[in-house]
C-alpha cells in the first residue's frame, strides 16, 4: 500500500511539474536567448550592443506571436527558439571575435590571474605556477590582440602617407600615461638593480654600487634618447630606415671580427668605443622594426605574393637573425624574428606564408639548439630541472627558488640571500630577485606595468594616423611584449631560459637606451596622431 501511494504521489508530482514546466518552457527559452545575447554583447559599443539586443527582443516577440497564431504549442515554439539559438552559436562567437576589445582581453586576463594568484600564492610554491599561468595567458591575449589588429592595420595600408603637419600644430603634451608607466618601470628597475647587484658588485669590483651607478647613467642617456625621438617626426624614420639598417648590419658584422668585437663568457656581442661598451643587437631590434615597417608600407601591393613578399622578407630577417645567432645570442634573434613576423602578419601576409615562416623558423631553431650543448642543456633543464639541480638545472632551480621564497610580500629589499647564487641576478634573472624581495606584490606590479604599457602601445597603434605609424607602434609594442614574456616565462620555468633581459628593469645600457628610444618613437606617434585628429583624418589614396 505504501509503495502504491508513493508511486501515485510521484506520478502526480511529475504531472504538476510537467504542466508547470510547459507553461514556463517558452519564457525560459526566451530568457535563455536574451541572457546569451546579453553576455555576447558585453563590452561592445552602445550602438552595436543595443541594436543586437533589441533586434533579438523583437525577433522573439514576433516569433511567439506568429507561432501562437499558427497554432503551435508553447513547448514547440520553445524548442524552435532554443534550436535557433544553439545552431547560431558558432556564428555568434565569430561575430563577437570580430569585435574583440583587446583592452578587455588584456585587462581581464591580468585581473583574473592577479586575483587568483593572490589567493593561491598564499600557499608556498604556487606563486611560481601563478606566474607561469599569467605568462601563458598574456601570450595568448597578445596573440588575440595581434589577430584583431590585423584588420585595423591592413585597412590602413592603402592610405597614402600624408605630409607631416607643421610643428606649430603639434601639441606639447605627450602621452602622460605612457610616460608614467615608463617612469615607474625605470624606478622599479633602479631599485631592483640596486638591491640585486650589491653583492655581485662588491665581489667582482669591490664596489657595491658599481652597477647601480652605471644603470643610473644609462637611464639618463636613455631619457635623452627618448626626448630626442619624441620630438622627431616619426615619418622621418621612414626615410632613415635604409641608412639605419646599414649601420645596424655593420655593427652586427663588426662584433664578429676578432679584435673589434668584445668577447665575454664565450659570446662576442659587444663593441667598445672609448669608455663605452654597447651591444649593437639591442639597437638592431629598433632599427629592424623601423626598416621592416617602412618596407611593408612601400611593398603593400606585393605583401601577399610569394616571390615579392615572403621571399625578400625571409631573406632580410634571415640575414639579421643569422648575424645575431652566430654571436651567439639566440634570445635576441628570437625576439627579432617574432617581432618582424608579427609585423608581416599585421600588414596582411597570407596565413599560409606565416605558417611557412613558422615551420622554417622551427627547423632553424632545432638545428641551432642541437648544434650547441648549452642550448640542449637549457631544454633539458626546462623539461626536468630536478634531474641535475647542481649542474644543468642549477640556473633554473635557483631562479624558481628565489621566486618561490618571496611569498606574498617578499623578504624585504636587500634581504635576498640568494643573490650570489642566482646567475644573472641583476640582469636576466632580476625578475626572480624581485619575487624574492618584494614577493607576489612586486612581481604582480612589474607584470601589471608591462601589461599596461603593451595595452597603451596597442591603443596608440589604433589611433595612429597612417599604416607606418601603426606598424611602428605595434612593432615596438610586440618587441616589449615578447621580450617580457620570454624573460618572465624563462625565469618562472614556463619556457626554456633564453637569456633575454626584462624590459626597463634588467641591468644593461644598450637594452635600456634602445627601449627608451623606442618609447620616444611611441610618444612621437602619439603627438602626431593627436595633431592629426585635430586637423581631420587622412584622405584615402
Amino acid at each position: 500500500m505504501s509503495h502504491f501511494l508513493i508511486t501515485l504521489g510521484a506520478g502526480l508530482a511529475l504531472f504538476v511539474v510537467a504542466t508547470l514546466a510547459k507553461s514556463f518552457l517558452l519564457p525560459t527559452a526566451e530568457l535563455t536567448v536574451r541572457a546569451w545575447v546579453w553576455f555576447l554583447t558585453l563590452g561592445l559599443t552602445s550602438e552595436i550592443k543595443n541594436t543586437r539586443r533589441l533586434q533579438i527582443a523583437s525577433d522573439l516577440w514576433e516569433h511567439r506571436r506568429d507561432a501562437v497564431a499558427a497554432g503551435y504549442a508553447p513547448y514547440q515554439v520553445a524548442l524552435h527558439v532554443l534550436l535557433r539559438l544553439l545552431i547560431g552559436v558558432p556564428s555568434d562567437a565569430l561575430w563577437r571575435l570580430r569585435h574583440l576589445r583587446f583592452d578587455y582581453v588584456l585587462l581581464g586576463a591580468v585581473t583574473a590571474l592577479a586575483f587568483g594568484g593572490f589567493f593561491v600564492s598564499l600557499e608556498e610554491g604556487l606563486a611560481v605556477w601563478v606566474v607561469r599561468a599569467t605568462v601563458a595567458a598574456a601570450a595568448l591575449a597578445f596573440v588575440a590582440c595581434v589577430a584583431v589588429m590585423r584588420d585595423v592595420v591592413a585597412a590602413r595600408l592603402p592610405f597614402r602617407l600624408r605630409s607631416a603637419p607643421s610643428s606649430a600644430n603639434q601639441p606639447n603634451s605627450p602621452d602622460y600615461a605612457l610616460v608614467l608607466v615608463t617612469a615607474l618601470l625605470l624606478l622599479l628597475g633602479l631599485v631592483a638593480v640596486y638591491t640585486a647587484s650589491q653583492p655581485i658588485g662588491y665581489l667582482q669590483y669591490g664596489d657595491a654600487n658599481h652597477f647601480i651607478v652605471r644603470q643610473a647613467i644609462y637611464v639618463i642617456v636613455g631619457l635623452a634618447a627618448l626626448v630626442y625621438f619624441m620630438r622627431l617626426d616619426y615619418h622621418e624614420l621612414r626615410y632613415l630606415a635604409v641608412p639605419l639598417m646599414v649601420l645596424a648590419l655593420l655593427g652586427l658584422l663588426a662584433v664578429l671580427i676578432p679584435g673589434i668585437g668584445v668577447e665575454r663568457n664565450g659570446a662576442r656581442r659587444w663593441l667598445e668605443i672609448g669608455p663605452a661598451i654597447f651591444y649593437p643587437g639591442e639597437f638592431a631590434k629598433l632599427v629592424v622594426i623601423i626598416y621592416i615597417s617602412a618596407w611593408l608600407v612601400a611593398r603593400r601591393e606585393n605583401i601577399s605574393r610569394f616571390t615579392l613578399g615572403l621571399v625578400p622578407f625571409a631573406l632580410m630577417i634571415g640575414v639579421v637573425g643569422g648575424l645575431v645567432i652566430v654571436e651567439p645570442d639566440m634570445g635576441t634573434a628570437v625576439v627579432i624574428v617574432l617581432t618582424t613576423s608579427t609585423l608581416f602578419f599585421l600588414a596582411g601576409a597570407p596565413l599560409s606564408h606565416l605558417a611557412l615562416l613558422i615551420v622554417t623558423g622551427g627547423l632553424v631553431s632545432y638545428v641551432m639548439i642541437v648544434a650547441q650543448d648549452y642550448r640542449l642543456d637549457r631544454i633539458a633543464s626546462f623539461l626536468s630541472p630536478q634531474t641535475d639541480p647542481e649542474g644543468t638545472g642549477f640556473h633554473i632551480t635557483q631562479l624558481i627558488a628565489a621566486l618561490r621564497d618571496g611569498g606574498v610580500t617578499g623578504q624585504g629589499f636587500g634581504a635576498s640571500h640568494q643573490q650570489p647564487l642566482v646567475p644573472g641576478a641583476h640582469t636576466d634573472g632580476i625578475f626572480a630577485i624581485i619575487g624574492q624581495e618584494m614577493g607576489f606584490v612586486g612581481i604582480a606590479l612589474v607584470m601589471a606595468l608591462i601589461f599596461f604599457l603593451v595595452y597603451r602601445g596597442i591603443r596608440l597603434a589604433t589611433a595612429a594616423g597612417d599604416a607606418f605609424g601603426s606598424l611602428l607602434a605595434l612593432g615596438v609594442t610586440s618587441w616589449i611584449a615578447y621580450q617580457a614574456i620570454i624573460n618572465i616565462g624563462g625565469v618562472s620555468g614556463a619556457m626554456p631560459l633564453a637569456a633575454t633581459s626584462l624590459p626597463f628593469i634588467s641591468y644593461g645600457g644598450s637594452s635600456l637606451v634602445a627601449l627608451l628610444a623606442a618609447v620616444g618613437v611611441l610618444l612621437s606617434i602619439y603627438r602626431k596622431s593627436h595633431s592629426l585628429s585635430a586637423s581631420g583624418p587622412p584622405a584615402p589614396a
Binding site: 516577440w61 535557433r84 539559438l85 547560431g88 555568434d92
Partner: protein, 119 residues
C-alpha cells in the same frame, strides 16, 4: 562557409532574394523575423534561420552596403505593444550583387538564371 573572393554567401543570397520577394509583395522594408520567415518559406526549411547566422549576416551586409537599416518609429511599436523593429531595405548595390550572383549561377540561385528579378 568561407567566402570565395567577393562572392555572396548562401545566407546573403537567401536574404537578398527573400527581400526582393517581399518587395514584390509591396513590403519594401523587412525586419529580422520577417526575412527569416520568408527564407524558411522559400527554402521549405523546417526551422527559421538561427539568430547568430541571421543577424551576423544582416550586420555584415549592411556594412558592405548591400542593405540599409533604421529603427522604426517608436510610437508605432508602442501603439502595437511590441518591441521596436530594426527595418532593412535592399540597396541598389545589393540588387547588383544579387544580379551578378545570378549571372554567375550558383547552386543557390538556379532559377534566377532564367527568371528576371521582380521590379
Amino acid at each position: 562557409m568561407r567566402r570565395k573572393g567577393n562572392a555572396l554567401l548562401p545566407i546573403e543570397v537567401s536574404i537578398l532574394q527573400a527581400a526582393i520577394n517581399l518587395r514584390a509583395r509591396n513590403s519594401t522594408e523587412f525586419h529580422g523575423f520577417l526575412i527569416a520567415k520568408e527564407i524558411k518559406k522559400r527554402d521549405r526549411a523546417r526551422l527559421l534561420t538561427a539568430y547568430g547566422t541571421l543577424y551576423k549576416a544582416l550586420y555584415r551586409m549592411e556594412r558592405a552596403g548591400l542593405l540599409i537599416s533604421h529603427w522604426e518609429d517608436p510610437t508605432v511599436a508602442a501603439s502595437e505593444h511590441r518591441p521596436p523593429r530594426r527595418l532593412y531595405e535592399v540597396t541598389s548595390a545589393g540588387e547588383g550583387a544579387l544580379a551578378a550572383a545570378a549571372r554567375v549561377g550558383t547552386p543557390h540561385l538556379p532559377k534566377l538564371a532564367t527568371e528576371p528579378l521582380p521590379q
